[in-house]
Symmetry: C2
Subunit: 130 residues, 2 copies
């Protein structure tokens, strides 16, 4: 059954910033902004191996994600989900995200030796209240 609505997918297809919360080793929350993408079923973002988010998700593959329209605080998506990660296609994916967010053909912030990771989130719950 589809979880994401047409409105959710429209929001995710725009260059809006998502804020992704994960759980640290000590049980405290971590939240940072990420570029976001969707295949119509999953919420997808891209990180790099060894970053805090990646390490947290290797240990505990659950996330909460909040996306707001920059121009309208009330046009939002808040979900929780479980995560699968892959390096396959992750370099091409971050380049596509650079196109979407920066209108650049290649991701300009790549670091030497950095290994990119696609994080595919299967939504499990809609957060209805802050």
């Amino acid at each position: 059954m589809a979880f994401l609505t047409a409105d959710d997918i429209a929001l995710l297809n725009e260059p809006q910033l998502a804020h992704v919360a994960t759980i640290e080793a000590d049980g405290t929350p971590h939240v940072t902004p990420v570029w976001v993408d969707t295949d119509g079923e999953h919420v997808i973002f891209n990180t790099a191996k060894g970053r805090v988010k990646h390490r947290n998700l290797e240990r505990n593959p659950v996330v909460a994600i909040s996306v707001s329209d920059r121009a309208n605080d009330y046009r939002t998506l808040w979900i929780k989900g479980t995560v699968e990660m892959t390096t396959e296609g992750a370099d091409e994916h971050i380049d596509r995200m650079a196109k979407k967010y920066l209108d650049k053909d290649t991701y300009p912030f790549r670091k030497p030796g950095e290994e990119r990771v696609i994080v595919k989130v299967t939504p499990t719950q809609r957060l209805s209240q802050g």
Copy 2:
């Protein structure tokens, strides 16, 4: 010692949206957007009794907060902190926040019987990496 820099305080004084992550009873993360404020030392937001964020913070008074400039994704503040909550002055505070964010003298989304809460976050850590 001051934790928040002049740049942090400037960002928090603008009507930018903060995304606040808390920990649910089952240990999973929760994140939703909130209006945000500062007294120059603390990050301050306003919620209502019984909401998910309030219940989570009563159980576990730790937060992670990510604030981004709507017009510049790279102008951001990411912190963790510990929380103190009070109902004292919380009604007046949400009205001041409505002035800041909506240019309205009174918070227009008040619900019957709702008890507002000021959440005062003492920053403990700057998140340097996603």
